[in-house]
Amino acid sequence: MQTNSRTDGGLLDAIAGGDVAALRELYSRHAPWLQLRLQRRCSDRDAVDDALQDTFVAVWRKPSRYDGRGEVAAWLWGIAIRRLIDVLRRRPRALTLLAREDFQPSAEEQVLLGVEHGDLAGALNRLSPELRAVVQATVLDGLTTSEAASLLGIPSGTVKTRMMRARAQLREEFA
């Protein structure tokens, strides 16, 4: 499947030795999904591109930061989302997060997704966009409260209260 038989960890070793081709290979394996996932967090394409660039430059400079445990992909995502936060901190933002909140899945899709994900999916989807963004940033992306606050452009206190409200709502749905 992959054109190059080296593992991601092997590529990082080669990058540590100054191998630009290895960085290129790592980039072609991981930049596409990182780009799409970042785009879901931030609708500003330039900010996403900058974050992607910063991510791989950071990997080039310090490939040894990867401690060999867990997926390289997860490690890369951790860098990428924090780079995105840094980029957004640097620029005044006209930000629309999670761009397509107005989208409604068709009835058919809802049924299919319901089968796939059970009740939890429905419960998550019924959260208001504000609460969902907070759940996504803290629970799914694993950001700290202040990182989530920077990404979403809201105060830390608001992140905490929205998280509490989201928890309460989910608990109610499953009660």
Binding site: M1, L23, R24, Y27, Q35, W60, A74, W77, R100, Q136
Partner: protein, 271 residues
Amino acid sequence: MSWHVAPDLLRAYARGEADHAAASSLEAHVIHCPGCRQEVAAHCDRQGLERVWGEIRNAVEAPPSGPIETLLVRLGLADHRARLLAATPSLGASWLVSVALSLGFAAFAAQQEERGLMAFLVLAALLPLAGVAAAYGPGIDPSYEIGVAAPMSSFRLILVRASTVLASTAALAALAALTLPRVGWMAAAWIVPSLALTVLSLALATFMPPILASGFVALIWGSIVIVTTRVTDNGLVAFGPGAQIGLLGLAAASVLVLAFRRDSFDLGSHV
């Protein structure tokens, strides 16, 4: 893994249309599944990715910054300024080492006898001048052509470089002077002359090539030191209070000339 991302979901996800829960499970799965990562690649913005890769390659293939550049960036200087400064020939390691060595020998000589002290003072006053002379100008500065073409006034670049060279060379001279407790404040008598000579040479450099200006200043001042020594039979007259005040006045006048004629650095007509 038995579950893989369905093509429909992938398409919706790439368009930003997948709902929250489905998108989240896709994201969680993709972290662990190289196959689905490849499927995702079919939906991304290829042109954008290639453009970003170009930027990454530029960044990683740029020459690594040297110790001085790294230090300057640490101190809060912008990258491009740091690079311009670090390209200064008289901030290179070889220059600083030779300055340190010659000052060390002179300081040693100064401990032995009166004439040694004079030699130390003359050297400590002239080294910053030489350093500034070697800090800019065609034929010396490898980044001269770039500097002329840069959207930054040559005058500012010269000032920034000259003051950095002056500071680093003077710091070395001050260290050497610390080894001369016997002579008291006389060990610091080179400070005003070195400053005045450097500023004077910069002012003259608005009329002639910088190398010529520095050589001229060094020659005149050196002759004055030798003549006064011969005439008064006291090697330190040229560093006495009268001379210091005179040099301060000269420095002030040079600053005025420099401020008045600073545009001549940009024209480059004299070089």
